[in-house]
């Protein structure tokens, strides 16, 4: 498997830590983890991309789907650890501002955890 998704739940915040390649083959694994999060009623979601070595438009489509679901349930979705390569793809696609992004998952948690 070229993508692993590590799931961590701390209170209301669920963090999905990705490692590997978020591509046509990896995207379904992320989608499964997202579907699990939706089933659990998750409204604060962080996706940590620090360990991603590759991301394509299929992967970005899954992230956009998560953005849409979280917006519909008035939740928060933040990305952490967006590296230069992934940032460039976001920018080329015109999505540089589509997600709140943080340098680390810790910073994302601090930002979106309800007071």
């Amino acid at each position: 498997m070229n993508l692993t998704v590590d799931v961590e739940t701390a209170g209301p915040v669920r963090t999905l830590t990705l490692a590997g390649e978020l591509d046509h083959g990896g995207a379904p694994h992320l989608q499964q983890a997202l579907d699990d999060a939706y089933t659990c009623g998750c409204r604060q979601l962080i996706i940590d991309l620090t360990g991603l070595s590759f991301c394509d438009s299929t992967g970005i489509s899954v992230l956009l789907g998560a953005r849409r679901v979280m917006a519909a349930r008035r939740g928060d979705l933040a990305l952490a650890g967006v590296n230069a390569r992934v940032e460039r793809i976001f920018r080329l696609i015109g999505l540089a501002e589509a997600f709140p992004t943080y340098a680390t998952a810790e910073q994302a948690r601090a930002a979106i955890t309800p007071a």
Binding site: H24, D56, S57, R68, R88
Partner: protein, 156 residues
């Protein structure tokens, strides 16, 4: 020197071979079938294009563009297709062929799908990534031809 690699013979007919320029003393072309394993395809394209002389962002961008085209074959053309690559002293050319043939030149000019649309970014993204993107209709299928030159491209 780049040597031909991955030639399986299967699926390569005379018409395809006829388009490969024979620069220098021997052709330096490559052929790979498209499978579910796009990671392996990316590595092969990366190695080939690097050996040919591409590096840095233009290399990464070409690899991503090929990935996008091959993902389209998996999603929209029953996963049946192949990739051919060759290079000359100016550029690396990679063609991603499908066996469905529903791509049309108008698709290559597709606009930015925008943030609201989840799918259909591939071709638009290829345009942002490569110097040239061309759709070729051929008997029994269609292909996306992607070209990346060695020269420095304007920063995007």
């Amino acid at each position: 020197m780049v040597v031909a690699m991955g030639w399986t013979g299967a699926g390569v007919d005379g018409s395809l071979l006829g388009r490969i320029p024979v620069g220098g003393t021997e052709p330096t072309s490559a052929y790979w079938p498209i499978t579910d394993d796009l990671s392996a395809l990316r590595h092969r394209v990366r190695d080939y294009a690097f050996e040919a002389g591409l590096d840095g962002i233009p290399l990464q961008d070409l690899v991503l563009a090929v990935n996008e085209a091959a993902a389209n074959v998996l999603d929209h053309a029953y996963g049946k297709g192949h990739v051919q690559a060759w290079h000359d002293d100016r550029q690396v050319t990679v063609e991603v062929h499908d066996c469905l043939g529903e791509l049309r030149p108008a698709h290559a000019a597709a606009g930015d799908p925008g943030a609201a649309t989840l799918r259909g970014r591939g071709l638009w993204l290829m345009h942002q990534l490569c110097d040239e993107v061309e759709i070729i209709n051929e008997p029994g299928g269609a292909a996306v031809r992607l070209r990346q030159s060695y020269g420095r491209r304007p920063h995007r």
